[in-house]
């Protein structure tokens, strides 16, 4: 899916190629056959969609399309799956405890990611990890609803314990 051949610094051509490959892969997955007619039709449709939507679709420009981005992406996926399962066990424990151990509050954390795509992935990851739900994104801060807030919490503590572990990996492949 990554295009190691395209290391263009400005990124427009590389991102166009990335969008084309993404749409073409989606076509292949949906049809589920590698008949030559299907391949040609899929390539034409994907090319048309890429050409039409590329000037208006800016969300993928946040991606870093270098070969070194693959390793952080894979380690991010691994961390995300582990956190997803931990979140569910944690939520199961809370739901099944008769007294409902909850101490919810809204907290704000800072993020260092600049691009909209990076913030989108970060917000999605936070929503699926233990006890947290992204409520709003304001400039470089995220408003988070936290199920169990430890007493005496500052914004740096919250940033460290919620976003840092994802940002370390995310910085490798998004801006």
């Amino acid at each position: 899916m990554k295009t190691p051949a395209n290391e263009a610094t400005d990124g427009t051509l590389a991102h166009g190629v990335f969008l084309f490959l993404l749409l073409f892969t989606l076509w292949l997955l949906l049809t589920g056959s590698i008949d030559p007619a299907e391949l040609i039709a899929g390539a034409m449709v994907a090319l048309a969609v890429t050409l039409i939507s590329r000037p208006h679709l800016n969300i993928f420009t946040g991606l870093r399309l270098t070969p070194g981005a693959i390793l952080p992406f894979l380690s991010y996926l691994g961390l995300f799956l582990v956190e997803l399962i931990r979140a569910n066990l944690d939520m199961a424990r809370r739901v099944l405890t008769p007294s409902l151990p909850l101490q919810p509050a809204l907290v704000e954390v800072k993020t260092e990611l600049q691009s909209p795509l990076g913030r989108l992935i970060l917000a999605n990851s936070i929503t699926l990890t233990p006890g947290t739900l992204t409520v709003d994104v304001l400039e470089d801060r995220l408003v988070i609803h936290w199920v169990e807030v430890p007493p005496g919490l500052t914004i740096e503590d919250a940033t460290r314990s919620i976003t840092s572990k994802f940002e370390r990996h995310l910085k490798g492949f998004v801006k």
């Binding site: 989606l26 292949l28 997955l29 949906l30 589920g32 997803l84 399962i85 979140a87 569910n88 939520m91 199961a92 809370r94 739901v95 099944l96 409902l100 909850l102 101490q103 919810p104 509050a105 809204l106 907290v107 704000e108 989108l120 917000a123 999605n124 929503t127 699926l128 006890g131 947290t132 739900l133 992204t134 409520v135 709003d136 408003v143 609803h145 936290w146 199920v147 807030v149 430890p150 007493p151 005496g152 919490l153 500052t154 914004i155 919250a158």
Partner: protein, 105 residues
């Protein structure tokens, strides 16, 4: 193979049930969104994994459905939560606390 797929299906159904139970038991809207989103997402993913073990020839379409659920479900929940916060629904707190930097909206 059949046994493994059945166990994965059972785990998925159990997580979905936990999500629905959380939806029923939690005290306010934001906590309900949390319980519903997390448990139901993992439940749907493992149900799809179990079906993929039963019918390996369907993997491509099942992969698309799994990615769709993984992307859209947290986004939809966050959108609802944001809309409720903008509309002025206050989150429930057990005791008035100054923990965290609370937001006056």
């Amino acid at each position: 193979m059949r046994l493994l797929a059945d166990i994965v299906l059972l785990v998925g159904a159990a997580f979905t049930l936990l999500g629905a139970l959380g939806l029923l038991r939690m005290p306010d809207v934001y906590n309900r969104i949390q319980a519903g989103t997390k448990a139901v997402t993992l439940g749907a993913l493992s149900l799809i994994l179990g079906i993929g073990l039963l019918y390996p020839q369907w993997w491509s379409k099942l992969l698309v459905i799994a990615l769709l659920i993984l992307v859209t479900n947290p986004l939809g929940s966050s959108t609802i939560a944001r809309a409720l916060l903008i509309a002025g629904v206050k989150p429930w707190t057990k005791t008035p606390t100054t923990a965290g930097k609370e937001r006056e909206s």
